[in-house]
Symmetry: C2
Subunit: 350 residues, 2 copies
């Protein structure tokens, strides 16, 4: 008994004051349902007099088309999903996620398309999400924060559901639309900033290596060091969190005590690093220079404030939203990914 939808018990309908229907609008306006419908949907083939009559009736009655009825026949739902493949509390509380949300809702703002939040549990629970998307309960989806082993991606690609990924999908199939940050270049710029400041023993606190962002930032750090003829040995891994960054820094100091520059792949990890460095008696930026990544708020509250790479999350996910709208409208010619650049923001830590 593996029904895709859990059974819901029907409750008695609440006594609602009855929302106005198209029928009533038509009657008020003295036209037929068909004409009223036409007037509402673009007004093609509608006389000015009929149009104004309908408009007036709509305003008088406070009419809004019944979404369900409309969507039943148009087979469109006028809603898109923001798919978050992890219910992990870290994700929702992450300012990165908040930024995505803001960008997408900004993109949707001029339309009357609603945003549905789809939190996909990994494994077992993802079935439900998959069914939801597959059966077209939304017109399209924006997918963020995916790890390597995400089964949902393949499902989405197979379903031909219009969707846009924020961040390069781990498994790339042709015909995938996505926006991404040029993490490699960003990591490079951060590292070059350390090099330019005279650091010669530069370490990195990398992000998780099952995320594209983690890998690419690491690669950027590496490339910059190579170009400068410096060693890329001092690498420790964190998990993008403050605590993880602190732990990584301790390992780092133990293994490479003479480090004089650190590129942390996220501000939170950098913040964790600052704490450990201070406690270890190293001044920042005096003894060790630190550059973070993201600039999503934390960077300004640390002591000293972090020099970091600004991650244009909002712009990026806004672009993703607009890409999805274009996809939905069938106006998208190229599926070229849109790549954004991270910008160096110099504060006091480096």
């Amino acid at each position: 008994m593996t029904a895709p939808t859990p059974r819901t018990l029907r409750r008695p309908p609440l006594d609602v004051p009855h929302a106005p229907t198209l029928e009533e609008v038509a009657k008020q306006a003295g036209v037929s349902r068909s004409t009223a419908s036409r007037a509402i949907n673009g007004g093609l083939r509608v006389s000015p007099s009929a149009q104004t009559a309908v408009d007036a009736a709509i305003a008088r009655l406070g009419y809004t088309p019944n979404r369900a009825a409309r969507s039943l026949v148009t087979r469109r739902t006028d809603s898109v999903a923001l798919v978050v493949p992890e219910p992990d509390e870290r994700v929702l509380t992450d300012p990165y996620f908040a930024g995505s949300l803001q960008g997408i809702s900004a993109a949707l703002e001029p339309t009357n398309i609603q945003l549905v939040l789809l939190i996909a549990r990994r494994g077992e629970g993802s079935q439900r999400t998959a069914h939801y998307l597959l059966n077209r309960h939304v017109d399209g989806a924006v997918v963020v924060s995916h790890h390597r082993d995400d089964a949902l991606n393949q499902v989405l690609v197979d379903s031909h559901l219009p969707c846009v990924f924020v961040g390069r999908p781990w498994t790339m199939t042709e015909n995938m639309t996505y926006v991404d940050l040029d993490n490699a270049t960003g990591g490079g710029i951060a590292t070059e900033h350390l090099i330019a400041a005279g650091c010669t023993r530069i370490a990195t606190i990398a992000g998780p290596l099952d995320m594209a962002a983690g890998i690419d930032r690491l690669a950027g750090w590496r490339a910059a060091l190579h170009a400068a003829g410096l060693s890329d040995e001092a690498m420790v891994c964190g998990d993008f969190t403050s605590a993880g960054g602190a732990a990584a820094t301790e390992r780092l100091l133990a293994a490479y005590p003479d480090v004089d520059g650190i590129f942390a792949a996220s501000d939170l990890m950098a913040a964790g690093a600052l704490g450990v460095l201070t406690r270890a008696g190293r001044s920042v930026p005096g003894d060790v220079r630190v550059v973070g990544f993201d600039d999503l708020g934390v960077a300004t509250t640390t002591a000293p404030p972090l020099t970091t790479m600004r991650n244009p999350v909002v712009e990026m996910s806004r672009a993703a939203g607009e890409l999805l709208l274009a996809l939905l409208a069938g106006e998208l010619e190229s599926t070229e990914p849109q790549i954004f650049q991270a910008q160096l923001v110099v504060r006091e830590s480096a």
Copy 2:
């Protein structure tokens, strides 16, 4: 021409592989549409054999009921809205908001109710949101972060749309369900902590006074000072942000240079205060003790880490979600508000 819904241009329907319908399930199972429907909705009055046949057909076809069709007749949408009355970037990026989101989606997780995010612009644009809610495009709503002058509240109350407020609504009408934090007691505890530490000239950086949280925390501070026989003169207002807190602190130091304790109504404002204090050459907690409010992540990254009042946002909004579910199910007997307590978390700033 003030149509409530902007006109959308109809796009040609995308060629979707055709989702299975109830009709097909019924045929596969060798029963009528009615029986299949019954089997799906609780299985009352369905023979075991018919039930298993339908279940099998559902699994084989990967069937999910068409939400639009169902909702057209049941007049329920199986979705609820999270209403955010401000499009302001501050709100979405706020960890408070993220926490709310997390709590509500946790409450909804065991159901198959979807979360629709409704960002209501103030003023003009709020019309659209109001219409959306009024015309029952969702079964209920959770409303967060409302200011004094929010017209939406009245609209919601009038509409009889089941809804739950997070944070005491500014204008209380009978029959309003809400959850809230006991901000006054929280402010009191924070202030008492300062008093117990020996501070005698205790200031507050209050939140905006058009928000209940701002007012109540201020009241708590005031009450604690009165009880201890101390002056409640040193009050400046911020806006819950870091920058606002910094500005407020400068004003505070100018007016009351001898302050030895500060209760900031949010961690962000406290963080701003820390910066200004350090720059002014006052050590924390040596010269001035600082207590914040919220404990939503910022508190641990500041230097020194903030002593603060833990705001159980997630639990609170989860409770709001569950209250809404109960309301929807008609199982709610009392409309007593659920009040949560903030807990003192002692770190290093006080």
